[in-house]
Amino acid sequence: MTNTQIQAVRPQPAAPAPVAPKPSARDRGSRLLAALFLAPTIVGIVVFTVVPIAGSIVLSLFHWNVIDDPSFAGAANYREVFGDSTVLVSFRNTLVFMVFAVALQLLIALVLALAVNGRMPVWLRSVFRSAFFFPLVLSAASISVVMKYLFNQDFGVVNWLLGLVGIAPVPWLTSENGAMTAVVLVYVWQQFGFSFLLFVGGLNNIPKEIHEAASLDGATGLRKHLTVTLPLLSPTLLVASVVGIINALQVFEQPYVLTNGGPGDSTRTVVMVIYENAFEQLRFGEASAVGVLLFVLIMAVTALQFRLSRRFVHYQ
């Protein structure tokens, strides 16, 4: 009961340690140390994240091109953004990209993690693990440069490989659907290793007795994975999908290098629009308005996920 009383008296969350009447020299020393230790991180976060978020919101209400003085615009930037077909298309593209990229990334990572978790010599397992993880250490920008050649319609290796199994050359980077598909594939190729590592870690955390019990009950193969492995892996699946979605909504390098948003606006993403508005056209107000909308979108999608996850995520 004392706990609730303390909380009732103090509106701010109290420090977990019992509040001594007279802080000893050691306590004061520890508080001073805490202040010193936290200063770089907290000051940095305030200056380079908290203040800029507020700044973005304020800036989104102004017209500003750096050269002239900023002029108050009210909701005009938002109205303009909602009337701008390029911006609307970029949100649609980003959502389409997110759905396909995250679904594909999680599916590939899950299947490979389950497969790598099966019977095989240790050395072989670590070879596979390293191979799937390797693209993560490469730069998205330079790997996209490489992919531009691989996806070339006439002399690219991708179409050559498809030709071997009798598929006609695909205009990857020059048709709308082809370009989006290529951007998704390149992104997934580089990113699935992240989810893969999460899943491998999550699978190792599942006590093996549970699988043995399931086998004794007659569950086998796919059925066992669906009814036993997946529910037990669901906390990891949640983390992988939350991180995957947050990252996918911020996609930039791949479409910027591979297609520069084209053909037309078919692969232009929200972040590309922010970049072009702010740093190519010097429309800082509009760029900030798009940024604020992206922020709201990310928050909303993440909140929705945590809400949905209450039904599907099982903690051991």
């Binding site: 936290l38 978790n117 390293s130």
Partner: protein
């Protein structure tokens, strides 16, 4: 039991093991394929660079393309810039995350929970949403188009702080209490007891920072306007723009050059990198 059978895994699949391993091998080749193609094409002559089927072993291996890269862009300058930026950020993050992580795990102070909540919340804020005001803040400090402008904002790391807090929480509390009984103040307890034990955790933060910032593209693209401040990824993409000669070997040789440190980190820092990523999913 032999070593191999001892380490056989727990899950039993209906799929025959050889079919599973064959499938995994195909997937691994598809994953590494683009990298293998890049290395092999960078060693071909321009005339052979588009050969199909792609010859993995070039018929006339040549390093011509590599000298082409050095002719076109100042590789040494770009590499120096990238190294400076990445190394300073990595060291800076190890310091800030180590200190803040320790404070959150082991020290008592007011507003601990809300402050930690603030740190965690910033993990969710996309860089692109804050980039315009950050650009303006840096401009007012006179740091746009400088390497310092890339380095300083990257010092605080929410993820690193979270990771180090978990790391310090995992260490036995008795150690510090024993040191306190021996008369160590809070600083001595940190300095001589906990900090030395934190080295592996700090290595994770350092390797993750190195990998991320070595490959970083968006912030340098916005902040660095003059060529002398470019980092490698920027230089490479500009290399591609300047070319148009039809010889892709040169571009790919540049890509290979920029991969070398990333691959070195992969080989040396594979374990810390993997642990850093895995702990993101498991330590909740």
């Amino acid at each position: 039991m032999s070593q191999a059978t001892m380490n056989l895994s727990r899950t039993r699949h209906t799929l025959a093991p050889w079919a599973r391993i064959a499938g995994l091998t195909v997937c691994a080749l598809l994953t590494l394929g683009p990298v293998i193609w890049t290395v092999s094409t960078s060693l071909r002559t321009p005339a052979e660079s588009f050969d199909l089927p792609p010859k993995i072993i070039p018929t006339n291996p040549t390093t011509e393309a590599y000298s082409g890269v050095f002719d076109q862009i100042d590789v040494w300058l770009l590499a120096l810039n990238s190294t400076l930026v990445t190394a300073l950020i990595a060291v800076g993050q190890m310091i800030t995350a180590g200190l803040a992580g320790y404070a959150f795990a082991r020290l008592e102070f007011r507003f601990k929970k809300p402050l930690f909540g603030l740190v965690l919340a910033t993990m969710m804020v996309p860089l692109q949403v804050t980039i315009v005001p950050v650009f303006l803040v840096l401009k007012s400090m006179g740091l746009t188009d400088t390497l310092l402008g890339l380095i300083i904002p990257a010092f605080p790391t929410a993820f690193g702080t979270f990771l180090m807090r978990q790391y310090f929480l995992g260490m036995p509390k008795d150690l510090g209490e024993a040191a306190m009984l021996d008369g160590c103040g809070p600083w001595r307890t940190f300095r001589s007891v906990y900090a030395p034990l934190a080295t592996p955790g700090l290595a994770i933060v350092g390797v993750l920072a190195f990998n991320y910032h070595w490959n970083e593209f968006f912030r340098p693209l916005i902040l660095e306007t003059s060529g002398q401040n470019y980092t490698l990824p920027l230089g490479l993409v500009s290399l591609q723009g300047n070319l148009g000669t039809g010889s892709i070997s040169v571009v790919l040789a540049g890509v290979v050059l920029s991969m070398i440190p990333a691959v070195a980190v992969f080989v040396i820092g594979q374990r810390p990198l993997r642990e850093g990523i895995t702990s993101a999913g498991v330590n909740r």
